[in-house]
Amino acid sequence: MARTFGALLAERRAALAGRDAELAALLGVLEPGGPLAAVVHGVAGSGKSALLRALRAEAAARGATVVAVDGRAIEPTAPGFLAAVGDRVASAAGPVVLVVDTAERLRLIDGWLRTELLPSLPERARVVLATRDAPGAAWRTAFGELLLVVPLGPLAPADACEVLRRAGLDEAQSAWVNRFTRGHPLSLQLAASAVRARPHAGEDAILPTVVQELAALYLDGLDAVTREALDATSVLRRVTLSLLGAVVPGESPQAAFERLAALPFAELGREGLVIHDTVREAVLALLRATDPVRHRAYRAAAWRQIRGELAGSRGAARWASVADMLALVEEPLVHEAFFPSSIQHYAVERARPADREAILAIAARHEPAAEIALVGAWWEAVPHAFRVARDPRGRVVAFTVLCELGDVPRRLLAEDAVCAPWRRHLADHPVGAGQQVLLARQALAHATGAAPSPCLAALLRDLERASLEAGPAVRRIYSLVRDDAQLAQIAPIGFEPLPGQRESVLLDLGPESVAGWVSRLAADDPALHETRLDGDGRELVLDGRRIALTKLECDVLAHLREREGRPVAREALLRDVWGYEWTGGSNVVEVAVSGLRRKLGDRAGAIETVRGVGYRLRAL
């Protein structure tokens, strides 16, 4: 029977040069008595994904079910991971291998993966992770000899030459390319493409950073249209047709997509096209430095498109758009919170019953007796609100208390003086029905108390993760700061002191929760995300666009905005905007709303029809 194109593609993609020993070691997870889990680690471009592809093909050929996920395409929360994997592991009949690529993007759920997910998998399941850093002590302690660690170094010279030969280079070309790429797989790939395109380019073109230079060498050889598409998409986490259409409006998104997909450092994933991080960062840095105006224009166009996609998305698609927006956020505090860039020394996880003594001991080191008693009272009432940071030995070195307001018994809220300003503020500024309020009651470290420290930083990143995990309903987070310096640290992400309070602070995420908050943070140009209704000028400024309105449209919108998030009765609109009571058959309200929606364009959905009542405005 003739082979299909798909089979050929799979075979080519699985072809691997020079990783025989590593592949054989990984396949050991399928052997009786072999390791239960394996971690492949190596720097960017070292060939981890290629090795995993070969593993998947070989494991499947041996009759195992392979469940593959990519950390870049998964919301870094427990529900997000479970949604991506589904029941494919649990429902597999025979041996099953869960393969997780780009696991460094899942550092926020590292503790959960290790302590909750893996132990809950069926006995026949094995797990293989690929990540940039070597697994920490927590993993090695948990699995001991049952964890296989496979470091990916450079390719051996003979293997590197084989890669270059397959890429079409002759022996002389292979020799000089391999001399400066030193076996780094991505560099080899880029160099091979560059040499094919410009066979006479000399070694003297090489700059100190080999990959960046190779990327530049390659990029110089690109045609202007492809180069512009690559520049434009360097501001994006992933490339989709809709995002391409927004950042490169002058040409067909499909054509631009196909051109980008053909590049040797682009890979088609579940969420779209992914440009290799190393190349993307090099292109982005070059663009930012040499053409800041174009860089800004691409960011603005991307922001508007993602903003529009966020407004209409739910579930996994919503996370994908939130992550797209996060990629535009340049505030390091936020970026680091969601995608920690360095290895974490402290494992953060939900507190266990046995941690009570350690938590109270930390409180006793830094707090007066009354406060220690309160920590005890919170532990009794909401033990699930406690999360701890453990040092590599497993000792509790810090803890936080974070929970939803509704989970805290009223008696405790009344008893705890810290909560009084929060409650007063909430009474004066209630949240809408269904919106959640989180209380970040405490964060203390054994050595340094409430002062900034690496273990508390790990816990605070976890707090942001928990806010994200709480879903699209989180409206507000109340917390505490020790002093002005601490407030200054968290002010860039939107925390502000409660009026008249020194220690109580508030982060209001807005009616669109995390999505809206991240959008505001990503808009570095205030005009970009400003929404302003100018009643006198009869003009709405939305995402930087100026939209002319009629007087009636302007008044209707102003009325709805004053009641944002709440249903407004049609009769109330007639009474307050038109100035007369219900008259029966008039359709003037419908006409005005229809005109408004038309002018709002892709944001028309912000005005919702509430059946049997009237209309409700969601955040513009």
Binding site: A137, H446, T448
Partner: protein, 98 residues
């Protein structure tokens, strides 16, 4: 503040613990400012794979150093006041952990 030498046998069980301690050093110094200043530690590998340290501090007194040991969860074998320093040559570049 006077100078002290504090031997800490098998203070760190792994390289990760050592790295975590190094990470925390500025925060700990900041929290104990005025009482203890961690100057440097000479770390040696033990045969069982653990690491011991010979740590040099400025401190207001032994009691502050005991509190520092509790805060950092490190064993304190002894607290010895330094009575003289003989410098034959400045410290070379810090040695790697392994």
């Amino acid at each position: 503040m006077p100078l002290y030498l504090v031997p800490r046998t098998r203070a760190w069980l792994s390289e990760e613990e050592l790295a975590a301690a190094t990470d925390c050093l500025p925060a700990v110094n900041d929290a104990m400012r005025g009482d203890v200043r961690w100057i440097r530690s000479y770390v040696v590998a033990e045969e069982d794979g653990t690491f011991s340290g010979y740590c040099v501090y400025e401190a207001s007194g032994p009691e502050a150093l005991r509190r520092h040991g509790e805060a950092t969860m490190l064993p304190t074998d002894a607290i010895k006041p330094v009575v003289a320093t003989i410098v034959a040559a400045p410290d070379p570049e810090p040695a790697a952990a392994t």
